[in-house]
Amino acid sequence: MKLFKMQLDRKQYHRIMVVFAAALILTGFFAYNTYTEKKQYQTFLQNNYQRSFRELVTNVENIKLLLEKAEISASPIQSNALMSQTWMQSYSAAENLGQLPITHVALSKTEKYLNQVSDYSYSLSRKNAESKNVSEKDMEQISKLRGYAGDLLGQLHEMESDMTEGKIKFGEIRKQGRLALRRASKDAVEVSFGKMEDKFSDYPTLIYDGPFSDNVVEGKPKGLEGKDINLEEAKEKAKKFIGADKAGRIVETSSGKGKIHTFGLEATPKDNDKSKAINIDITKKGGYVLWMLNPRDIPEKKLTDQQASDKAQKFLKEHGFGELTETYFLKNDNTTTITFIGVSKEGVLIYPDLLKVKVALDNGEIVGFDAYPFLMSHHQRQIPKPKLSEEEAKKKVSQRLKIERVKLAIIPMPGNKEQLCYEFKGKYNNFDYFVYINADTGNEENILRIIKDEGGTLTQ
């Protein structure tokens, strides 16, 4: 105190005040700058959300209108056009919904509904394209879906008016800080959407022959035969698969209750060197290897494609896999991942029976294995005789394609089905194409263009 009393005269006092004032102004300026900047971002974000939301409303309005029209359309051509538009609108609606800052829980059913409309309209438009009219059953589905579109639209309009009244602000949700406000507005949005979800909870599962995404997911594995095994047996299987030298110690780490129930095991060499750990999942039923990954470092590339392929083939033979043929090579991280598919005795390619083997290019060790698609679909198949001859099928292929070879193949179809097709491999504009012609009806079921990746090679 004494010190100040001695030193501060009027002049010094003024000087200090000036410094303080300057500091105050500077911080004030800085705070103001930050504030306006923040405000700008917030507005920008808010606008983005608004755009998504408004586009969503427009999409749903269009979906409702299109489905209404579809109900009274009688010609396949008209219906085809309507369904294609519905497909486009519902796809875009689902995308816009995904942009909104609302937790997934509140939205999942709405998203599912939109994706179903999308899939369903797509499958109907394909049906129409074959000049087939929409069946009575389909009509019922359409009117059901239209009903839900109406409900959804009602809810969305309610939200829209809440928004214009300022009850709901999307931007507020993102805002950090003012917690109470944030929570309140978040609740408002979620309640609104939650209400919508309740309405959707009782809508039926649609049954149709289209690409219903759940169908694929819920399909039962066909490739699992035999009795359930216990942990000890699973460890034994794993040891056999990996090799006793690399699997000195096996512990259960992450057993799974997914689509296929598994024992999740981790194998380490005898010295318990964790860095050499290999993960492997063995199915509970039948004790098959579902997948295996050995993430070790592979410092160099010594093996050729042919050598890698030989290693993989030998490995598969040793582990009792039947007739398989390679379709694709993918090289990265000094490994080659080889895709194998099934082949019947008659030489028909079976695309659903797919498995992958990853070969390390330094010493040819198998460092990865994935049999998920194989185990999901492999079963004893009766390969049907094609109704169309190869010549007849050839006529259905575009003249532009320079056909190089033809094979019979079973390909997976939407809705977990399989179809015997003629596979035409050909060239157009220097690109490789696969064209699949239905061996029974002559329909062009699929066209694949082979994308030449820097590391990918087609082997057939």
């Binding site: 009393k5 990954l293 991280d333």
Partner: protein
């Protein structure tokens, strides 16, 4: 007379100090967060595992800082040797390999990796790897592949957006995206994991959610049936 005036001014001066100090603190913490973001592109610490840890161990061993085995696990031995290395090289001896330490060790730091990768790999792998890196860089390799698989399972699921970018950038879906941690160049291990997942490997058993039970506050997620537990993450349907 003067001392009286001075006394009156005390509260005022104190307020100004607090105010200025507060502003400065906000500014510096803002800068600090930017710096720590940068350091995050390579971040190895106690408990980390994988190829990058191995690289660190190999280098430290070669230079005589590290005596243990090159096992890819960041334990106390590794941490101690990193500290020793940092002290010798005038870095902050915190035992954590951030960007500066990684640079001193002669490891490819994030930015260099990024420039190389983005030109030679497809966009999808890179985006996916960024998300894995942000979400699960402390997890084992299998844990990283599983997180990538969850993203891909969502793309196929009708309740989620239909593209990889759509799923990753869905508001609130991933913490690493919400807090911006994702926007760092992914490590080598994340890139590898992304490729394996895109190639079809799915250690998650078809899961579409995962959470860290120690961190989540979301009650709903607890009600989901758990498919698998890998490292710190619970994977569920």
């Amino acid at each position: 007379m003067f001392s009286k005036r001075y006394k009156r001014l005390i509260p005022f001066i104190v307020i100004v100090f607090i105010y200025a100090g507060f502003g400065g603190w906000i500014y510096s913490s803002h800068m600090a967060s930017q710096i720590s973001d940068e350091a995050g592109s390579i971040l190895l610490k106690w408990g980390s595992r994988g190829a990058e840890v191995k690289t660190v161990q190999t280098k430290l061993k070669r230079w005589g800082y590290y005596k243990g085995s090159v096992d890819g696990i960041y334990g106390w031995r590794t941490a101690n040797s990193v500290k020793a290395f940092q002290r010798k090289n005038g870095l902050k001896a915190d035992g954590i390999v951030g960007n500066a330490t990684a640079k001193a060790l002669g490891m490819p730091t994030g930015t260099a990796t990024a420039a190389r990768k983005s030109t030679s790999r497809s966009n999808e792998v890179y985006t996916l790897a960024q998300c894995i890196h942000g979400e699960a860089r402390g997890e084992s390799y299998i844990g990283q592949v599983a997180v990538a698989a969850v993203i891909l399972n969502r793309v196929d699921d009708s309740r989620f957006p239909n593209t990889i970018a759509g799923v990753i950038f869905q508001p609130g879906a991933f913490t690493a995206v919400s807090d911006g941690q994702m926007f760092q160049p992914p490590g080598e291990s994340a890139m590898k994991a992304a490729r394996d997942a895109l190639n079809g490997w799915d250690p998650s058993g078809g899961a579409i959610y995962y959470y860290n039970p120690a961190k989540t506050t979301n009650k709903w997620i607890w009600s989901r049936p758990i498919i698998k537990v890998i490292g710190k993450h619970y994977f569920c349907k």
